[in-house]
């Protein structure tokens, strides 16, 4: 790792001589130790996905959720400390409920993202509090402008809007894979649709997962799209199953063939060894 804190890393309210707040950086490192979370803004919706390593054989399947609905039109995927993530989700739910009670409409994505970012940021200002060790991926739909939106709120309290974002252990290779997808074309109509997005995210997760090294995992996916009536819902299980089957097949085919576009995959395999 880079320079040690040497005394400047004991409190979130202390700057280091080179202008860093180490506690916030350490919080990000905590997130990087956890399962990968991916978000994708497709042409007609947003898809969220989290890789849940199964730490215990006794865990009940499909419990211990990482993706939470905060309002009909918004959902959050958490990675990092799950308990810290819970706090962020609860706050998001309060914000949504409060906004609707005051203003009579669903909270716009930008406002919700900004408020969550401000909340997370608050914990980086005080010596008596520690920053959140969790990143939240927020998928949201604006009921007035009819646009969908993907944002990521990091432990430092920044929140940006993304076409595709990744957090957690496999974020570096995941970002490389995400960049290859058609999600940022100048003509928005050419971007992939949600069903394709579901398949691609499943593929990326499986690509990053190494059989021998990493623990077995559960895949949690949710979407917010036309098909779901612009409500945040879990992707139907049969669709996930389909996507995983396709993903495994696609990866196997890519490994076998020597075509140009698979060189990237092969390189990844080599680097990981």
């Amino acid at each position: 790792m880079a320079s040690s804190g040497s005394g400047y890393d004991l409190s979130a309210s202390t700057f280091s001589p080179d202008g860093r707040i180490f506690q916030v950086e350490y919080a990000s490192k905590a997130v990087n130790n956890a399962g990968t979370a991916l978000g994708l803004k497709c042409r007609n919706g947003v898809v969220l996905c989290v890789e849940k390593p199964l730490l215990n054989k006794m865990l009940l399947p499909n419990s211990n959720r990482r993706i939470h609905t905060v309002d009909t039109h918004s959902g959050i995927a958490i990675t990092g400390f799950v308990s810290d993530g819970r706090q962020i989700v609860n706050r998001a739910r309060e914000e949504c409920s409060n906004y609707e009670e005051t203003y009579g409409t669903k909270v716009p994505p930008t406002v919700l993202g900004d408020r969550l970012a401000a909340y997370v940021h608050y914990f980086t200002l005080h010596g008596s509090l520690r920053p959140f060790g969790a990143t939240a991926l927020l998928a949201s739909y604006d009921t007035e402008t009819k646009e969908h939106c993907l944002q990521m709120i990091e432990p430092s309290g920044v929140s940006y809007k993304y076409f595709g974002c990744a957090a957690g252990k496999g974020r570096q290779p995941a970002k490389t894979e995400l960049e290859k997808l058609d999600i940022n074309k100048p003509d928005r109509g050419e971007n992939i649709d949600v069903r394709e997005g579901v398949k691609q995210l499943a593929r990326i997760i499986h690509l990053l997962h190494e059989e021998g090294k990493d623990k077995p995992f559960e895949l949690e996916m949710s979407w917010l799209c036309e098909e779901s009536g612009w409500e945040h819902k879990g992707v139907p299980r049969d669709l996930i199953k389909e996507a995983v089957e396709w993903a495994k097949k696609d990866i196997a085919e890519a490994e076998e063939s020597e075509s140009e576009e698979d060189d990237d995959d092969d390189d990844d395999e080599e680097m990981n060894e």
Binding site: E101, T102, Y103, G104, T105, P108, T110, V111, E144, T145
Partner: protein, 237 residues
Amino acid sequence: MSYMNQSQPNTHQPYANAYQHDGKSAETRNLKPGELSTGTTIMAIPFENGVVLGADSRVSTGTYVANRVSDKVAQLHDRIWCCRSGSAADTQALTDYVRHYLSQLAIETGRAPTVKTAAHLMRRLCYENKDNLMAGVIVGGWDPVEKGSVYNIPLGGTCIKMPFAIGGSGSTYIYGLVDSLYKEGMGEEEAKQLVKKSISHAMARDGSSGGVIRTVVVKEDGNTREYIPGNELPFGP
């Protein structure tokens, strides 16, 4: 022996909790002494691409007309207006609060608030403070989501989106007239004429309504204020 001396009085005793009106109107009884009332006629009708809001201009304290040319149509935001009726002080305070909250919201969200939001804010204030307020408000305006829309917020703090809304003390006299003349899908001119005609009729019969008619036409590209002096009303005093 004392009971024989008791005589039944001949006069009818009112019940302890009888409704004492003392000859005063409901409004006068609810206002504080000397408080100004916008006993009023207000109206709003949406048409294809906007809304027409209209009101009379009389402000009274009891029988004295404190202001015969007041402006009861207040602006809440660029394309959102409201008509005020009831206590002048209460409605002015409400309008100021809602204007403030809407402007802050516009900055936070980065876009123009919707009429629904404005109506919702107004309703929350009216409902939460219903014991201390006497205000009947009609919120109308144009927004990109619903285009022209009108919300009626009467005394208790209900909020109903309506195809057209009338309010104030004078409105009771023109329910029949408006019901018979209103048609769906009216254009701007028709809606304006209906507003002017209806308010004139109300002003003719309601002692608390009078003066001039003020109208505001709200559309996507702008607001147009108009006023009809008392001697040019479609229907005479």
